[in-house]
Symmetry: C2
Subunit: 397 residues, 2 copies
Amino acid sequence: MPGPLDGVVVLDLTHVLAGPFASMVLADLGAQVIKIEQPGIGDRSRASGPFIDGESSYFMSINRGKLGMTLDLSKARGKEILLQMVERADVVLENLAPGAMKRLGLDYPVLKERNPRIIYAAISGFGQDGPYAGKPALDVIIQGMGGVLSITGEPGGPPIRPGVSQGDITAGLFALIGTLAALHERARSGLGQMVDIGMLDCQVAILENAFTRYFATGEVPQPLGTRHPVTAPFQAFQTRDGYITVALADGRRDQWPLFCSAIERVDLIDDPRFKDGWVRSQSYQELEPILTEAMRKKTSQEWLAEMEALGIPCGPVNTIDQVARDPQVLHRGMIRDLPHPRLGKVKSVWTPVKLSRTPVGADTPAPDLGEHTARVLREFSNLGEEELRSLREEGVV
Amino acid sequence: MPGPLDGVVVLDLTHVLAGPFASMVLADLGAQVIKIEQPGIGDRSRASGPFIDGESSYFMSINRGKLGMTLDLSKARGKEILLQMVERADVVLENLAPGAMKRLGLDYPVLKERNPRIIYAAISGFGQDGPYAGKPALDVIIQGMGGVLSITGEPGGPPIRPGVSQGDITAGLFALIGTLAALHERARSGLGQMVDIGMLDCQVAILENAFTRYFATGEVPQPLGTRHPVTAPFQAFQTRDGYITVALADGRRDQWPLFCSAIERVDLIDDPRFKDGWVRSQSYQELEPILTEAMRKKTSQEWLAEMEALGIPCGPVNTIDQVARDPQVLHRGMIRDLPHPRLGKVKSVWTPVKLSRTPVGADTPAPDLGEHTARVLREFSNLGEEELRSLREEGVV
């Protein structure tokens, strides 16, 4: 059975992370994703380590399930081939600097002329317009400008970057949402449109809580270690031998008494300073020494066993190797061995989108540079062997 | 003009963050989102501070654009009303504990009987199956179990929680992607399906890079402050008066010489230890003292002006108040004053999904508990005033 996006053709002009991550999800959902790269150079993440027998593990991890072709969009024949492909495609996805596609004569108005149904999704640092539109942007710059760095770290300490490239990833996810919504609308109107995603916009959107607090109180949010800004306890604690997380659910008023009993401080149950999550977060300075002292008395395993028995939400602070062998992660099929023509099998992270009726997940390896050029050109441009040879000689593909 | 999801009816059984954030995006995209809450209690985030004249700013920030009704799903008449509504809905979205909907007799197989076209999206901590499926999970627990906490922080330091609830937010975004893909497929098959999103799965998916490095090298990723694991410089630096970020793009080999010239260390340009981003990230211990010493010599503004003039990607580390008045953020319309019946206007974060032809963004305020109960029941269940009165008396709505 085909995937849910079977029949959707995506021309993928993206590189490195936000775009390729998004187009990999489209491939997982069953779309035919054609990754188009500059001849001889390709996506610059092909040069990112670590390498497995010379193959970039980074590139492999965000490009599986795609077809790969080369096409020089600066050459007239390259442009014309792209436009021919646009006529038969549904989605164009790019994350070049704003203006780059226009300079190539391949921006949305031009593509729309050739195919009014095309959906053109662009991911950029700051979006297609505004005072910063021309500025270069990479993940840490966007996380810094969007405010996350300023609220990640120890209280009073230096900024910390979250260990995930969420500046890129969230922009990729919002681009997918916009693209899929535009596809839905196209079924009715028959018309495509442009999806303009700015990484900085996405940072503001996912920090709704920090902005909301600032607007409500005028207080500028600060880094809080592992704490949550509006409820407590909701954080990691140091135990006798490591760290665990504990988080009481707001609205589950039974959990605070159980937690107090677990840490042998039943005297706190009815203390008005600690009556609910919001109030506890506001009187945290008084609560903190009590909790940190108590939590150091037992090992992580002892605490997790006790708290789980009481139904208190808690968990280990896993390192990446521990996550990779976690029984739940394995049960959900999140780690797979994918076949690779030269490397045998390559361990890969799998899709988190689980559907009940249609399959999700593309298990072909990331393409070599230009691996499927001939196949794609035959299918989309009806080009024969001779024309292909001439394109190769001219460096168009 | 209607939004791209105009005509899509969403029954929203979600609470707190991952689910409400997702359904707010659906409302922004033009879907009719009906938030269904327990009579007299409602979404527990209504009790989360900070409050503006008694209204939860937290609740308001993730529930705009929705209709609000109450319905007691534990009562037979409440169940029957929900099932009647399911017959005329497209999507049911819930983030209850796995099993809760089944205990109510309202799980996907039951709903599908009433409407085979229904798309049932469930967000949970660990997904609907597996050894942890029954465990409670909240954002920090999932970020801990998924590995992000272990790679966020200072080298050798304690775990740090990213300042954004990305455990919840990313699960909401993947749930939207699955739901929209299922909607697309339904147009062909006429059938709905279940979308099963586990927050832990999503953490693994967005940490593709950390897992990939571990699989490639066997080395367990560690916290790196603000650094990037596979390229350098790509981080925040302390300046004479604060912090800025600098990030060189891999594949832009012109940037390293420019950066070396900016920090007056042209002797490093051809140093083989520092020849490209990957190599620099591997010899970072030698690079670090050079960079940190150099970057402390000027103020943030001096560095930003110099580096921008050279085309080196860089940016400020903004606090939330600075982001809220940033010219680009304002130009992109990311902060809006939304009308509110009692509070006048409320500042709100706007949607990052920008479409060129159909409008996006729902500007009605978050509903009061049960505000639209009568309206929704009239529309979906053809109930008259008398029946409504009896439902109220019985506590069904």
